[in-house]
Amino acid sequence: MNDMRILERDVDTNTIKFAGRDVHVYYGETEAIKGIDVDIEDKTVTAFIGPSGCGKSTFLRCLNRMNDTIDVCRVTGKITLDGEDIYDRKVDPVQLRAKVGMVFQKPNPFPKSIYDNIAYGPRIHGLAKTKADLDDIVEQSLRRGAIWDEVKDRLDAPGTGLSGGQQQRLCIARAIATAPEVLLMDEPCSALDPIATAQVEELIDELRTNYSVVIVTHSMQQAARVSQKTAFFHLGDLVEFGPTNEIFTNPKDPRTESYITGRIG
């Protein structure tokens, strides 16, 4: 199903996918992101790390304009996707979000059945011609989300009746079911046990060959394991951005260093 797209995409490698220039984000009066410049490459996993409340989620939500839904939130500066300004008035945020999928920090399954949770995206995007196609997409997504075994017997049960970690994986599966070009994941493994975490990390790695993935994480180890690029945020600033191994082994900014060395576990 998805192969055609994938083939087409293989042409360009590691070009810049997202470019942010002087991005500021305000919640009402307070400035949550204080002027950020960043280039996110295609076919790369980029990790956002930083202390809680530093603006990781906020910036992540800028990348697919999810911040549009918060009344008090205002974004200035320029963010481009494949060279096109995503905050341009002509850009259809819906189309943008279809390209740029998202897994939210708090798992938010639809109050529908597990099946419908996954099938919703493919349905509205017309990705399945037949019911069998759709069944197939649902199964594949759930498998890749590492939750198929747990839910295969209860696809009709409500998605909200799952455990915390299951909901999180359901949301991951939901996000990849629409085959987006970029996947934004806000702490996708926070509620997962090590085994499930490993499976999701595998998935991320697999996605990387074709898509671009941005992941917010609090686990330095995870960032080190899965990402090629790491961005360190601090109090709304992008303090440091570079290849992951460099950041972890040889941080340039003292704040980065203290954050990384202050690490635990």
Partner: protein
């Protein structure tokens, strides 16, 4: 939000590592408050249901007799000299004999019947006997003769309505004592009626006519029925349902989900709540001005009534729909937007289903209001005396008709007490219609009512 359980209790009392089985004073107090709170809730529901029961009992008590009716079965000789003076069976000539001509025939037949039974009732005059039969009988007989001119000259058996007071006697509304002082009925008539009943000429049976017949004038309460009113009400509800619900929901969706939040939407919001407070008769004024005087729609027509009631119910539906749209958690919307659904898809696929119970509640309450409203119909000509049935829809929507609440309103104003019973009967019909109409909504609502 300051609360009744505000910090006031001594802390030391709680510090004791207490058993779960022994409640601290504070817990006792809080639990008592909890019990009270729950009892208030139960009491509130109790009061509501009790009121309902009281009202229903009184309605049923007054109205159920309306579903029964007393009839007189008797033979009538269709006297040719009166009914077809020219003797040529020409329908046109027969039609020239008005009901005034038929009345003496029926009265005569009734007198014969009573006299033949023997056992003179003292003081019973011929006039009194004639008055025992409904005035409706003449019309009934005339229709029969016009339909069957060949039967003129023969004797046929007819089932006529008994006069309202006689009917009331068999329902307990009229008694011998009251007849004594009532100038419209005499005890002698009641005695005669009892005899007729014993002889099987006077029977009480289910009153189908109450549901099917049109309204009747003040002189014939026994003949008055709800046929036209039921059709009119159903037509109007069709219009309201087809317009108010979609328009109301669409308007709410726009205002709640799409409209920019600025002073204009504030004005619209205030304005809609304000419309809910506009007395319903004002909507009648509006309907008269717009639909009849400007758009030239016919008077007394269910289409106009439906449109006016639509405008009147819209605020109710909009307010309740908006309230429930507002209560859908934003995280659900985020989830949908996040997989690339458009705002429209988000609303129609996720928000609306979650808001459905509130929308249906609005519909239930709005329709209840629309179904029971009289005042706005006053000005567009539906508070009327209508005896011809409107046609089948859609044309029938443009024919004159009344509505159930109008019939109730009219009947409670009539002087003959028999109409009061009919009015209560009409209320029963109205409530049944209401429940039937809302049943779908209630069942649907229960399906959507799931806490996630």
């Amino acid at each position: 939000m300051t609360d009744a359980t505000a910090p006031s209790a001594p802390v030391s009392g709680d510090a004791e590592p207490s058993s779960l089985f022994t409640q601290t004073n504070r817990t006792k107090r809080r639990n008592a408050a909890e019990k009270r709170f729950k009892a208030y809730g139960l009491g509130a529901i109790g009061i509501g249901i009790l009121s309902l029961v009281v009202l229903l009992v009184s309605i049923l008590g007054n109205g159920l007799p309306a579903f029964k009716q007393t009839y007189v079965v008797m033979d009538v000789t269709l006297d040719e000299s009166v009914l077809d003076p020219n003797g040529n069976r020409n329908p046109e000539d027969i039609a020239k004999v008005l009901t005034f001509g038929y009345t003496p025939i029926i009265r005569g037949a009734a007198q014969n019947l009573v006299r033949e039974m023997g056992g003179e009732v003292e003081g019973l005059t011929d006039g009194m006997i004639g008055d025992m039969i409904s005035k409706e009988a003449a019309g009934q007989l005339r229709r029969f003769v016009l339909a069957n001119p060949d039967l003129i000259g023969t004797t046929q058996e007819f089932k006529f309505l008994a006069n309202g007071r006689i009917d009331g006697f068999f329902k307990g509304r009229v008694t011998m004592e009251s007849a004594q002082i009532d100038s419209n009925v005499s005890p002698e008539q009641l005695v005669a009626a009892e005899r007729l009943a014993e002889a099987g000429h006077l029977t009480t049976s289910f009153n189908l006519g109450f549901l099917t017949a049109p309204d009747a004038s003040d002189q014939r309460p026994e003949a008055a029925g709800l046929g036209v009113a039921i059709i009119g009400s159903v037509y109007m509800m069709l219009v309201v349902l087809a317009l108010a619900l979609p328009i109301g929901v669409a308007a709410s969706i726009y205002l709640e989900e799409f409209a920019p939040k600025n002073w204009i939407t504030d004005i619209i919001e205030v304005n809609i709540s304000n419309l809910a407070a506009v007395p319903s008769i004002v909507f009648g004024i509006l309907g008269l001005a717009i639909f009849i005087n400007y758009a030239h729609l016919p008077q007394s027509a269910p289409i106009v009534g439906g449109l006016v009631l639509t405008l009147m119910t819209l605020p109710t539906i909009i307010i309740s729909t908006r309230a429930s749209l507002k209560s859908v958690p934003p995280s659900i919307k985020d989830a949908a937007l996040g997989v690339g659904a458009s705002k429209m898809q988000t609303v129609f696929h996720h928000v609306l289903p979650l808001a459905m119970p509130g929308i249906l509640t609005g519909a239930i309450i709005g329709l209840a209001q629309a179904l029971g409203e009289t005042a706005p119909l006053l000005l567009i000509g539906m508070v009327a005396f209508v005896r011809d049935y409107p046609g089948a829809p859609p044309e029938g929507l443009f024919d004159p008709s009344t509505a159930l609440p109008v019939q109730v309103y009219n009947w409670t104003q009539r002087s003959d007490p028999a109409f009061f019973e009919r009015a209560s009967g009409a209320i029963i019909v109205l409530l049944v219609l209401l429940v039937l109409m809302n049943l779908v909504a209630i069942i649907l609502r229960r399906r959507f009512e799931r806490r996630w």
